[in-house]
Amino acid sequence: MKYVRVWVQLVHCAFSSYASNRIDAGSYFLGKLIRFGFFWLFFISLFHYTDSFAGYTKWETLLFFVTFNLVDVLGQALFRGIYLFRNDIRKGNFDCILVKPLNSLFYILSRLTDILDILFLAPLGVALWYVVIHLPPLPAASFFLYALFLFVGLVIVLGIHILSAALTIWSMESEGMIWFYRDATAIGRFPPEIFSKPIQFVFTFCLPIIVMVAFPVKMMLGALPLFWAMMGCIIALVFLIGALVSWRVSVRRYSSASS
């Protein structure tokens, strides 16, 4: 409960910060809308040249795209604090975080909530609804499984952010790594079948972007075998545990700004 209260307070702070610079916030939000709209157009354009894309219809392909955005935006909204972590390490401010009476990892990840990303969930929700109504009728269980695997995807996103924080202590570089992750997630915009098997393997087991994005979509479409569904959950769990272990090892290694 304490953590919920802290998080709500941090959200208030973030909101005040965004509200104090409306030009900044407005142009940022507009940029997000333009990018989303342009990629949407890109997908529509692709289907002027083909009827199916790696075996998927136009609306199924768009479901991959919208789901990618959903996972990406949720991750950005909840864990944006990681972008500030490099400065903490560089300037030694991490010392002050370590002595706070709350979990330092929680504070690092959640101290900056991206209000604009939370707002962006509204157009994304509309886009998701628009895509779903163009799909063949789906049973209610499909939506439940979709939501469940979105959660699994978020566990992986959390793991990646923790891993990035851990690596920052070693290398003093987190922004680049997070941008690498964000650029690499671009593969999640598209059905994984367009990539060769080795690439699919890497992005399923090493950096599980396919589990994050493609698995929820495939669960909704009823195209994911039970074995792979279970495997997805195991991968997410192992990834999170691995990231937490890395974090603990890194924090033990941390020796303040004078190091």
């Binding site: 030009i23 900044d24 940029g31 157009l41 890109f42 692709l46 790594m177 941008w179 690499a184 671009a186």
Partner: protein, 266 residues
């Protein structure tokens, strides 16, 4: 203007970038990762077809490799430093030195790009070596010369946009939002996502008016041989006009901005 001091500055910045080589490498890998996806997308769309809208498979893959090259070698990222200079008052220290601020920041960026260009050439060469069937080279020496010229314009426009956004900090303070908007508008209208011919006619017309096409689309089009000699001459002329106009505008903004600057940060 003494060239030697700027040359020395360039060497100093270069040494600093090399000292932070892990950071440079991570950023370059991040830049590259984004573009490696699109050839797969298009190859899936091609299926058994040989061409799409005049692009053969090799043209399309090469198109994205050229864009990857440009993203690493010719894309300026200076606005964030300018924002910090203006907001935190770091500009004071540079204003009192015997050098021009815009040159100072340009040299900072150029030194990074020298390092990045070496890496970009290696990556581009690797793509040619690994996937010779999917890569092509300009068909004539003239095309290659125009391509090199277009790379210069690509960097110059990217740098001008960054200067423009960076200078906006004199008025806006934190310019993260406008910078993000610039980034996305550039991505959309520069042909970075896909060749502009694949987009609806209205968007193509808008992109044709704006200068963002010179960032990626024009160099990539020249490289894959989509432009005739006359078209290449025409785009270079238009790019020169844009470059001159935007340079004057950036200088104007700098003069107005520095007059507004109060020396203690914003």
């Amino acid at each position: 203007m003494s060239i030697s001091k700027y040359w020395q500055l360039n060497k100093t910045f270069l040494q600093r970038h090399i000292a932070y080589r892990a950071r440079v490498s991570i950023w370059i890998i991040a830049d590259v990762a984004n573009f490696l996806v699109f050839p797969f997308v298009w190859l899936a769309v091609y299926g058994s077809r040989e061409t799409l809208a005049g692009y053969a498979k090799a043209d399309m893959v090469t198109y994205y490799m050229v864009i990857m090259f440009i993203s690493v070698a010719c894309t300026s990222h200076i606005s964030r430093h300018m924002k910090d200079d203006i907001i935190k008052g770091n500009l004071n220290a540079i204003l009192v030195q015997p050098m021009r601020y815009l040159f100072f920041r340009t040299i900072h960026e150029v030194s990074y790009r020298i390092l990045a260009t070496g890496i970009a050439i290696a990556l581009f060469g690797a793509a040619f070596f690994l996937f010779p069937a999917y890569m092509r080279f300009p068909s004539s020496p003239a095309s290659l010369i125009f391509f090199l010229l277009s790379l210069f314009f690509s960097f110059y426009f990217s740098h001008l946009m960054q200067l423009f956004v960076g200078l906006s900090s004199f008025w806006l303070g934190d310019n993260t939002g406008p910078d993000r908007l610039r980034h996305i508008v550039e991505k959309v209208f520069s042909g970075e996502i896909a060749p502009l011919v694949f987009f609806p006619p209205l968007l193509q017309s808008i992109a044709g008016i704006l200068p963002f096409q010179f960032l990626s689309y024009v160099p990539a089009q020249i490289f894959v041989g989509q432009l005739t000699m006359q078209e290449m001459r025409h785009v270079v002329f238009i790019a020169s006009m844009w470059a001159a106009g935007l340079s004057v505008f950036v200088l104007f903004l700098w003069r107005r901005g520095v007059r507004r600057y109060d020396g203690v940060g914003i």
